[in-house]
Amino acid sequence: MICSKVLVPSGVLGLGFDIEALKNGLNRKPDIISIDGGSTDSGPYSLGSGTSKYSRSAIKSEWKILMKAREEAKIPLLIGSSGTCGTDEMVDWMEDITIELAEEMGQSIKITKLYCEQNKEFIKTSFKKQKISSLDPSPKLDADIIHDMSHIVALAGAEQIQECIKTGADIILAGRTTDTAIISALPLMKGADPGGSWHGAKIAECGALCSNNPTSGVVLVEFDKSGFTVEAMASNASCTPESVAAHMLYENADPFILYEPGGYMDVTNANYRLEKNGKVRVDGANWLKSGTYNVKLEGAKITGYQTSLLVLLRDQNYVENAKTWVSKLSNFLKKQIKEKMELDTPLYSLEFRLIGVNGTLGELETKVSEPTEVGVLCIITSKKTSISNEIAKLINPFLLHYPLTDNEELPTFAFPYSPVHSDRGCVYEFVLNHTLELNHPMEAFRIKISEV
């Protein structure tokens, strides 16, 4: 007997999905529509700055389709990790979009919001009480680093999402959640097999990525007492036991174990088989409850302010000797910066990357070949925008004219645009790879309800 059916329109809101496939999914009478709104996948900037990676217009246009679908199907619509990073402000941003759309479409809705951002004092106290444990690898953590973080979020699990579902909301806007919890929460509530609930959630977390047509987006997962069945909703997409099983590999350091708040899932003994009508049946995953209830933390802090420049070398002599040129130039520039700005190297960083030589892999590059041209990307990072921009202006003429040897005519390289320097603003870094032990699941989370 099916305990619950979860419709997942896509791996993330903002990436698009097949409208026909969504209709097919709705015809199957799902109990909830669940979609992810973010991740750390695009780097620390989103969490550091507390902003969405996707454009508001892309989010609004896709959310409108899902809000319409919800109104017609009369089932809850749930988004996790709102606004990419899932900070409190991004939950409110998502609520603004929701209210705007509800007004435009004349919908009356009950909205439940789950806030996941962490107060620094609470995190400091938890750290002192040894409630925070590091994962592998373990970045250094102390009270100063906690103080310096611009945003800290805790990843909500199934328990917090279930609290939101219990409010009877039409729409649930959650802050940072695990990708899986937004899918597993309802089946777990309805008595589905715990191992199967988490496993099915993991398989469907990226939408149709577990099928042979990833861009179609929409998948339906039917959960029951012994496992789950997954099916792609687009007419030109289908799941196979291989495509489903292979999803356990994707973005997972360990293909068998997945840690979640309150325990972990083990799929070592899972079985995948093809059923009729292009469905894949899966069972055999285990859920192992942990002794304490831990949630994962994410945090980012400002590294500095960055300015970049790009110069192109096409002259064959310079292309062949790009590494030597950059090494000589770098030493020369450091002396210039010291002499003219009275600035020593620990106060700024000046990095050159040779695009066309080893720009992507750096010291790991194994291939040696003769490029036609080399792009020299120069990245300056310091504690102030004004310093980084000043360094950029100081080094500009040398990037343009610096000669490889003393006795040659002054060379001039190619600057591809004006101004040559690009002010990249504030840059951030991830500083937490830790978990937080809670006395009860809602200790670090808050729920707010509104009606429009």
Binding site: D41, P44, L249, E251, N252, D254
Partner: protein, 99 residues
């Protein structure tokens, strides 16, 4: 000598959270899978990726004919010195490796 990339059906790499990279080698058949399990040594992969041998995790998944390697990033994702945020180009190193 041929390369590993020519021998298998696909090699992909991806960040697994901000602090790990994972590489999946899809062998395509049980024969290739067995050959690679036997002849692709951890130390060679560790040297290629410049990671310590003990940091390299290896998984052999016969059901899928897949060999998977995971290792902690020396430089976390999006750090000032990171060159490839998603680590997705790292697969090329294994693909172009002599085998």
């Amino acid at each position: 000598m041929s390369t590993l990339g020519k021998k298998v059906s696909r090699i992909r790499s991806k960040n697994a959270g901000p602090f790990w990279i994972t590489i999946d080698i899809f062998c395509g058949s049980i024969d290739v899978y067995k050959d690679i399990c036997l002849n692709l040594h951890n130390q060679k992969v560790a040297d290629l990726l410049k990671v310590k041998g003990q940091d390299l995790k290896r998984f052999e998944i016969e059901k899928l004919n897949v060999i998977k390697f995971s290792f902690p990033r020396k430089i976390p994702q999006g750090h000032v010195l990171d060159r490839d945020m998603h680590g997705a180009q790292m697969a090329v190193l294994l693909s172009e490796m002599d085998f």
